[in-house]
């Protein structure tokens, strides 16, 4: 079984309700996304930014056999990949934040990229906490955030993935974002 069709089978098992495949599928995506991001970033110059949407799409092309994939496969994939993207970035932010706290005095900056990165790390961790809190209150809104914010999915793609109308998705996104910011502002 090739890795493409393997992923496809896992995806379909997962969407058919078999939760046990989640771990296998998720760790595969996590590893693949991370690898793609790493390769992309190698050719980065300071100040460049990473297009997470492109990463997620590239992972899809790589992991899923296009000849056999159906539209809903892609949707399921994007949903899971969005979550994987979130985990990757939050892990990264956590590492950086910890490194900063444990690292003592900051060096003189000749290239402020790293310092700026540290600043945003804490913001992202706060956002992640707020998103967890939101998920407890309303799983659906949190899902929209994952798909939109981390996966870079369009409103139309989210509508397709969640079976809701585009206007509803847009409103969900607006509301979720307001909740998040408010929760972030409230946290110490």
């Amino acid at each position: 079984m090739s890795s493409e069709s393997d992923t496809l089978a896992l995806l379909r098992a997962r969407s058919a309700g078999d939760e046990s495949v989640l771990d296998a599928l998720f760790s595969r995506m996590y590893a693949e996304l991370r690898e793609i991001a790493r390769r992309r970033l190698e050719s980065f110059r300071p100040g460049d930014t990473l297009n997470t949407t492109a990463l997620v799409n590239e992972a899809y092309l790589k992991l899923v056999d296009q000849g056999r994939a159906e539209p809903q496969d892609r949707t399921h994939f994007l949903s899971l990949a969005s979550r994987a993207m979130r985990f990757i970035l939050v892990d990264h932010a956590r590492n950086r934040s910890a490194a900063k706290r444990g690292g003592g005095a900051r060096p003189v900056s000749l290239d402020d990229i790293q310092l700026a990165g540290d600043e945003r790390a804490d913001d992202l961790l706060q956002l992640d906490d707020a998103l967890n809190a939101l998920a407890e209150a309303d799983e659906r809104l949190a899902q929209v955030v994952e798909l939109r914010f981390f996966g870079g999915l369009s409103h139309e793609e989210i509508a397709l993935a969640t079976g809701r109308s585009v206007p509803t998705v847009k409103r969900d996104w607006t509301r979720a974002r307001a909740w998040l910011l408010r929760t972030m502002n409230e946290s110490p």
Binding site: R38, R40, L41, E42, S43, F44, R45, P46, G47, D48, T49, L50, N51, T52, T53, A54, L55, E58, R86, L89, H92, A93, N95, R96, A99, P107, V108, S109, L110, D111, D112, I113, Q114, A116, G117, D118, E119, R120, A121, D123, L124, L127, A133, E136, A137, D138, L141, R148, F149, F150, G152, R171, T174, R175, R177, A178, W179, L181, R182, S187
Partner: protein
């Protein structure tokens, strides 16, 4: 944090409110919360964070946490291990690693053989760059860079290759902060920022003269040291590092260098113009705090770091600075400044208040500059401003109704209405009152409208209800675009259809809209008749009725029925303030109109108080750059002008016109009317040439949009006075007579507007020593004014004194 028990209730209300037009949310929530203030506050605070969450969080994590994501390749993740302290690179000893980015590592190093411990920064490039070709270029370019000797450019001191073959550069060690942070930390105001930035431009220009392009100008490459001098880092380094590596990247381009010029992103040749673009971006960051790739910061904080308020900052940025930025950052390299020096010189012009190159020299623009430099020169002269004031305020009322009618139509929901809604969505894009000008493509909207109006004739013949609503919506939209002809015929059709259908609310709305057109054309009496019919209809909508009554007051005012207008306005204001949720939109219009009435009665102080209240109300609820705030400035300027406060009036006109131009575009009738009024103040201050330019623009625009309307008549009469002062009696007389003819045609001989226009002609004739004609016109004007105003009204006094001065006999008043 989020209380899951309460979440559902709060979020449902939040969702419900979001589906309503903004002005209805408060009422909806009050109703739904039934006195639960905590709940109400919670939903309100969520609504309030909708906008800030949009700017703070953005659409994607890549926007939100760009620097974090680009640091993904942090130490220890996959890169080479750092060079250990003490490692020697040529004559340089590594002290420690101080940074790591996408292109490699940066070390602090010191010269081993130097007693002074000269420090330097050593940049070691990543593996993968070390091909023979790259190394060859690297050494060639390094020699060129070493020849760059400028106090604001960090020097390249040395270079070589590490033991494992990776190239490195030794650069002058600069201790400092990125320029934008340095400025922010010191709360530097704009002029000081510009001064600092000009040094950067001049350094870049020096390098350009040696044909060295920086290629990567961005804040982290411009450090400011303790001595306050900026230093450019990494000159030309980007090119050194641009090996074959890039050519091997396949697939979609994922790099988005935030300060890169469009041609750079497109992979086209990089020239000195590329640096000019990046300098523009840097300037934008320094001035406005806009940092590409990062979420917008709080405007209050940005402004505070520049020693001003958000409004003050906007005002400073508007105009020349904005134009300079746009020129520097033009997408087409040909349209940018030809050199970094030219950019710097234009900024120098801005600092001295001279005309900048970044704009073709239109007369109006030069005039504006001239005025600023010659602020002291003021000569007094009295001109009629009464008429202008009336027309602008009334137009404001008419315009407001456009947006309102659309809002109301939107609220009517039934199955058939969906068609209307879809169309409205399209049309609203064409209404400048609800659309920002950058999104407005008037021509396209106009095409859509015209096509839909045609379809209305055919498709909906058997659906009079739908047809009535569509006709009204289309009519309002045409009116919002200032196209009165098609608006008129559609709204008349809507009136007839609603009347036949027996729909009082629809009829009232259509009458209301139609009256707006009549007012715009000067048909005050017709508007009054239409609105009296509307007021009497049993619509069952008290909110709507209040607005129609306010419009009736406005129409009465326009017809010269000042007494009844004043009473009606006061009644409406009292009712608004008594409502549980005061309609602040309507309140601001009523305040404005009452201000205009006070003005007409010669009570300029009271007028100023009312208009200032209106301005504050609008600024608070709409933000400083809303068109209505622009209009409020203009209205207040009238009052100040009449009070003799010409400096304040001029400044307020400038502010008001700037806001109106930004918000509504150059051809909107509100702006054109404001231009005419501004011209008036300038003429009063003796700035004749400048006034001439403004008048011409106003008259041309109004004539094109409205034909022979009262607004045009006012500008013509006032322009006549100016032409006379400029020594052109022939032109003056023909303008004054045309103005009077229009007033007579619109209002008839007994309206005060006609009286004032005639009086202006009379004064001219007397000054030209054509006393017989002058006395005749004065006598006629005085008779009209005495009927319209109380005997001690300034208009009457003026006319009487004028008549006597001309050698005529004033009656006993």
């Amino acid at each position: 944090m989020i209380d899951p028990g309460r979440f559902r209730q709060v979020d449902d209300l939040f969702d419900g409110a979001l589906q309503l037009p903004e002005e209805e949310r408060e009422a909806f929530l009050r109703e739904a919360c039934r006195g639960d203030e905590v709940l109400l506050d919670e939903v309100r605070s969520l609504l309030a964070s909708v906008t800030s969450s949009e700017s703070r969080l953005g659409e994607n994590v890549a926007e939100f946490a760009a620097p974090l994501i680009s640091s993904f390749t942090g130490p220890g993740e996959h890169d080479e291990p750092p060079l250990p302290p003490g490692e020697m690179l040529g004559a340089w000893r590594i002290v420690r690693e101080v940074g790591r980015g996408g292109m490699g590592e940066v070390y602090l190093a010191e010269r081993a053989d130097d007693a002074f411990h000269l420090q330097a920064a050593v940049k070691v490039v990543k593996r993968g760059m070390d091909t023979a070709e790259v190394l060859r270029r690297f050494h060639a370019e390094r020699r060129i860079l070493a020849s760059l000797d400028h106090p604001n450019i960090a020097r390249v001191l040395d270079g070589g290759a590490t033991a494992d073959g990776r190239p490195y550069l030794v650069l002058e060690y600069v201790e400092g902060e990125p320029i934008h942070r340095w400025c922010d930390a010191r709360l530097l105001e704009l002029r000081k920022r510009v001064t600092l930035f000009r040094k950067v431009c001049e350094a870049v220009d020096q390098a350009h003269r040696r044909l060295i392009v920086h290629r990567d100008v961005k804040p982290s490459n411009v450090l400011v040291g303790e001595d306050g001098e900026p230093k450019l880092l990494d000159f030309g380094i980007a090119k050194l590092l641009e090996g074959d590596g890039e050519a091997t990247i396949t697939g979609a381009r994922l790099l988005t260098p935030l300060y890169a010029a469009p041609e750079q992103e497109a992979g086209l040749p990089v020239t000195t113009a590329t640096d000019v673009y990046s300098l523009g971006r840097l300037l934008q960051l320094l001035l406005s705090g806009v940092n590409p790739g990062r979420p917008a910061e709080d405007p209050g904080a940005i402004a505070a770091a520049r020693g001003t308020t958000p409004e003050g900052l906007r005002r400073q940025l508007r105009g020349d600075l904005d134009t300079i930025l746009l020129r520097a950052m033009a997408a087409d390299p040909e349209r940018r400044y030809a050199s970094a020096l030219q950019l710097s010189e234009d900024l120098g012009r801005w600092m001295e208040g001279r005309p900048v190159l970044a704009r073709p020299d239109s007369l109006g623009y030069r005039a504006g500059k001239f005025v600023r430099r010659n602020r002291g020169a003021v000569t007094a002269g009295l001109l009629s401003v009464l008429l202008v004031l009336t027309s602008v305020v009334a137009l404001a009322m008419a315009q407001r109704r456009t947006a309102e009618a659309l809002g109301q139509a939107e609220r009517e929901r039934d199955a058939a209405e969906e068609v209307v809604e879809i169309l409205q969505g399209i049309f609203r894009a064409g209404d400048p009152m609800t659309t920002r000008p950058e999104r407005l493509d008037t021509l396209r909207a106009r095409d859509l409208l015209d096509r839909s109006a045609l379809r209305l004739q055919g498709d909906l013949a058997d659906r009079p209800d739908l047809r009535a609503r569509l006709a009204r919506t289309l009519g309002d939209t045409y009116r919002g675009m200032g196209l009165l002809e098609p608006a008129d015929s559609l709204l008349r059709e809507a009136v007839e259809l609603h009347r036949t259908l027996g729909d009082p609310l629809g009829l009232s709305r259509a009458l209301n809209s139609l009256s707006g057109i009549e007012l715009q054309r000067g048909g005050g009496a017709e508007a009054v008749a239409l609105l009296r019919e509307a007021v009497a209809l049993p619509t069952g909508d008290p909110h709507h009725l209040l607005r129609v009554r306010s419009n009736l007051a406005s129409a009465l005012q326009r017809s010269g029925e000042f007494q009844e207008a004043a009473q009606l306005y006061e009644a409406v204001e009292a009712e608004i303030l008594a409502a549980p949720v005061p309609d602040s939109t309507l309140l601001s219009s009523v305040l404005g109109a009452r201000g205009a009435l006070a003005h007409q009665n010669g009570d300029f102080a009271a007028s100023g108080v009312l208009l200032e209240r209106a301005l504050e109300l609008d600024r608070g609820r709409l933000g400083a750059d809303h068109w209505r705030v622009g209009l409020a400035h203009v209205n207040l300027a009238f009052a100040r002008q009449r009070d003799g406060l010409l400096d304040e009036a001029d400044a307020r006109y400038r502010e008001g016109v700037a806001i109106l131009t930004d918000a509504l575009g150059t051809d909107h009738n509100l702006r054109l009317n404001a231009l005419g009024a501004w011209a008036n103040v300038r003429s009063q201050r003796g700035l004749l040439e400048e006034a001439d330019v403004l008048y011409r623009e106003a008259i041309q625009g109004i004539r094109r949009a409205e034909g022979p309307s009262p607004g045009l008549a006012i500008e013509l009469s006032n322009y006549g006075r100016l032409l006379e002062k400029m020594g052109d009696p022939t032109g003056a007389e023909s303008a004054l007579r045309e103005g009077l003819e229009i007033q007579l045609g619109v209002f008839g001989p007994n309206h005060p507007n006609s009286g004032v226009a005639r009086q202006m002609l009379a004064r001219f004739l007397c000054r030209q020593d054509r006393r017989e004609e002058g006395v005749q016109e004065f006598t006629e004007a005085l008779a009209v004014l005495e009927r319209a105003f109380p005997p001690d009204h300034f208009r009457v006094t003026e006319a009487r004194e004028g008549l006597e001065g001309c050698g005529g006999e004033a009656g006993a008043g």
